[in-house]
């Protein structure tokens, strides 16, 4: 069936992607590699080849070192938080005889929010004269600098993200839970299976594919945090929330160090790539070892 005419048409239909991929992916990729070995500042017409200097310099700066660790700190905070919240929603919602879709739509709404809006709300809610802070001052006499201390700044950003993604993941988990055949539970009830066994031996193994999806998605989220951090902390206090995106943005567009920022972007991509690969492997091993896959 393959003839010349089909070949041509196939390429014509694919051409929007091919052109796009060339101009905005392959070209930039090569350019980025090239820039990372130069000291270009986005403006000067001439610049020099500096070898591996950018990479060596980057790895020694507190900003880049912070970016490396902050990603994993966000993982430790955000992933369990969003998983617990979305699981709780899914368990409560699944199989409800009425209004189930109303609930699901309601829980999904935060996913539609802009990170800028979410940050604005949180900033207002935690501002000096806000009801929450007035209450804490008035009742307990404490004044918390929510975004000014490292741990609470990390938690607040993590919480905003968890708020945003809970409904989406709950949707995935609900459909996972509902695909479990009720007869299995009935059979287990007859066999006198305890609640704990029921969860570990039936629910979790059968939910594993859906859980795998939400876990991969949520690890992915932590590798690309920018808006909330840019808006609320600017990466501070003292780099405590300085993500890769934040660092690259600052170096490239505030300090205009295009060459240096490209080197950081390459480091960030490598770390991202390896992290995702390792996380996938660990999750798959976890499933295999328990015989869920």
């Amino acid at each position: 069936m393959i003839d010349k005419r089909n070949d041509k048409l196939g390429w014509i239909f694919s051409s929007p992607y091919l052109i796009f991929g060339l101009v905005f992916f392959l070209g930039p990729l090569v350019w980025s590699l090239y820039l990372s070995f130069t000291d270009w500042d986005l403006i000067a017409p001439e610049y020099d080849y500096v070898g591996l200097d950018n990479f060596l310099k980057a790895m020694a700066t507190p900003g880049v070192q912070a970016a490396f660790w902050v990603t994993y700190k966000f993982m430790i905070i955000f992933v369990p938080l969003v998983t617990a919240m979305s699981l709780a929603v899914a368990v409560v919602i699944q199989g409800l005889p009425r209004f189930k879709s109303v609930y699901l739509i309601g829980f999904f709404l935060p996913y539609l929010s802009s990170g800028v809006v979410a940050s604005l709300i949180v900033q207002g809610f935690l501002s000096y004269n806000s009801p929450v802070n007035e209450f804490l001052r008035g009742t307990f006499g404490i004044q918390i600098d929510w975004l000014g201390s490292p741990l609470s700044a990390l938690f607040i950003v993590g919480l905003i993200l968890a708020w945003k993604f809970t409904g989406y993941y709950a949707l995935i988990l609900t459909s996972g839970l509902e695909s479990i055949d009720q007869e299995i539970y009935e059979a287990a009830a007859i066999d006198g299976v305890s609640d704990r066994q029921r969860f570990w031996k039936i629910t979790l193994p059968l939910l594993y594919p859906a859980l795998y999806t939400t876990l991969i998605l949520s690890f992915g989220v932590t590798l690309g945090i920018f808006t909330e951090v840019y808006q609320l902390t600017g990466g501070g206090p003292n780099f405590a929330t300085n993500t890769w995106q934040m660092e690259i943005f600052n170096q490239a567009f505030t300090n205009l160090q295009a060459g240096y920022a490209s080197a950081i972007a390459i480091l960030a991509s490598l770390v991202t790539f390896i992290s995702i690969f390792a996380i996938r492997k660990v999750l798959e091993m976890w499933g295999k070892r328990n015989g869920w896959v």
């Binding site: 991929g21 980025s32 539609l112 809970t166 567009f253 960030a268």
Partner: protein, 279 residues
């Protein structure tokens, strides 16, 4: 049996109460935003439930807040509409075209293109930020609508989703249409697109939402006051409006409401489409 039935009912009631409480907690930030957008300026961020209301903040959005240009907020809203609609339309169009080629057309090099799409999709995008910005500058598109549309005209995720969906449509439909002399464009337009309405609703809403709330890219390629999108303007006004945040809440409502309204309009189709994409 009667006892367990009663037990079941009680358990169900508890679940409804829990679900409602959880939902209230989750939508409270939205409620806070809406109430503060209508609150008297003396009460913004000062009360859990403001007691005095006014339209001050919305009036300000429509008429005030001159920064370089008159009516920056309505202007930014229009910019957001132009950029998001154009870009989402192109992502859908190209997504459908490329997916058709990758799923239903037999041509030499198809597997290569397919693998390349997957490679591109899983490549960390952060590496492209700086060079893509430079390309926009080199093409002379900096600070134009095109800068915000063209680099966001192709979505790999849309191609991926449509490719998977089209693969599930039997070839018999296409072969029958071809025997009747239909061209590939016609098959795409008359068969494939109508058959994928529900998945289209999902892809459309996700793409539009993502485009509408983009910050980083729109922030670096647009600089003039009259080019900013609403999301970027809102982001830049955090500092200047610090002591009068009322209008920022109104702008947040303006930014959030269109997406939520669309989501509710397409809700039913969206649900069907999600069911497919979750399989």
């Amino acid at each position: 049996m009667v006892g367990s039935n009663k037990n079941n009912k009680r358990r169900l009631a508890v679940r409804y109460v829990l679900a409602t409480l959880l939902l209230l907690v989750m939508v409270y930030p939205y409620l806070y935003m809406v109430l503060n957008s209508f609150a008297d300026w003396s009460q913004v961020d000062r009360q859990l439930l403001p007691s005095q209301y006014s339209l001050q903040s919305y009036e300000w959005l429509l008429t005030g807040g001159e920064v370089g240009i008159a009516r920056p907020w309505t202007n930014a809203f229009l910019n957001s509409v132009i950029v998001s609609v154009a870009s989402t339309f192109l992502m859908m169009l190209f997504g459908i075209m490329v997916a058709y080629a990758l799923s239903k057309m037999k041509f030499r090099g198809r597997d290569t293109v397919n693998n390349f799409v997957l490679f591109h999709m899983f490549f960390p995008a952060i590496i492209l930020l700086i060079p893509n910005f430079l390309i926009i500058q080199k093409l002379g598109l900096y600070d134009t609508y095109w800068a915000m549309i063209i680099p966001k005209a192709v979505s790999l995720w849309a191609i991926f989703m449509y490719t998977n969906f089209f693969k599930a449509i039997p070839d018999a439909f296409i072969e029958a249409a071809k025997l009747d002399g239909a061209s590939d464009f016609k098959i795409l337009y008359k068969i494939m697109v109508p058959m994928s309405k529900s998945i289209t609703a999902v892809i459309f809403l996700f793409l539009l939402m993502e485009r509408w709330t983009e910050l980083l890219w729109d922030m670096i390629v647009a600089r003039s006051d009259n080019m900013l999108t609403l999301n970027v303007l809102l982001s830049q006004m955090f500092g200047p409006y610090g002591s009068y945040p009322g209008p920022l809440y109104a702008a947040s409502v303006l930014l959030t409401a269109p997406i939520i309204i669309l989501f509710i309009i397409f809700g039913k189709k969206f649900k069907e489409g999600m069911q497919f994409s979750l399989k």
